[in-house]
Amino acid sequence: EPEVTQTPSHQVTQMGQEVILRCVPISNHLYFYWYRQILGQKVEFLVSFYNNEISEKSEIFDDQFSVERPDGSNFTLKIRSTKLEDSAMYFCASITGEAADTQYFGPGTRLTVL
């Protein structure tokens, strides 16, 4: 069964550095999402992406964040200048967009900002 994949599984970075988290959605899916989960807190929506543009973003998704689908398969989340509070699990998800379909989640990337 096809799955959403994410790389790396764990990323450690210094505060102020840029990080890029990568996701490969399921191939026939059209909508893509990033969520994050700070340790001990809820899974929170960051951004949704459709037709090569952001369709919705939360208040968390400020100017430090950007998303891109550079080559038709990868879907990336970039954090321009990481802060300590960006430490979290980041989940990618995708969906076909057809009625009654559900989101399929990747395994997550654990980001640790030191």
Partner: protein
């Protein structure tokens, strides 16, 4: 704004005992409600959704619009049910999910 509340953090039950995980939501429109499960070292996966009205792995959940609840139930817990369970909501026609904090379920043999 959409909000999902799961009151208990950790639930320990004996094998064979009933399990009920509470989920309440606040949303003024037409919500779609889901339960997601995350087994140890695995990804979040859909357990069930209210529009399907299915029973998955013995679990059921009924949407009660009057009480704004979508509690998850299973009459007889199994050891393999030990996992994190998340209640989630989205607006009808919009797939952005709002999650509750999750319940850690531990089934004691």
């Amino acid at each position: 704004a959409q909000r999902v509340t799961q009151p208990e953090k950790l639930l320990s039950v004996f094998k064979g005992a009933p399990v009920e995980l509470k989920c309440n939501y606040s949303y003024s429109g037409s919500p779609e409600l889901f339960w997601y499960v995350q087994y140890s070292r695995q990804r979040l996966q859909l357990l069930l959704r209210h529009i399907s009205r299915e029973s998955i792995k013995g679990f059921t959940a009924d949407l009660n619009k009057g009480e704004t609840s979508f509690h998850l139930k299973k009459p007889f817990a199994q050891e393999e049910d030990s996992a994190m369970y998340y209640c989630a909501l989205c607006r009808y026609g919009n797939n952005r999910l709002a999650f509750g904090k999750g319940n850690q379920v531990v089934v004691i043999p």
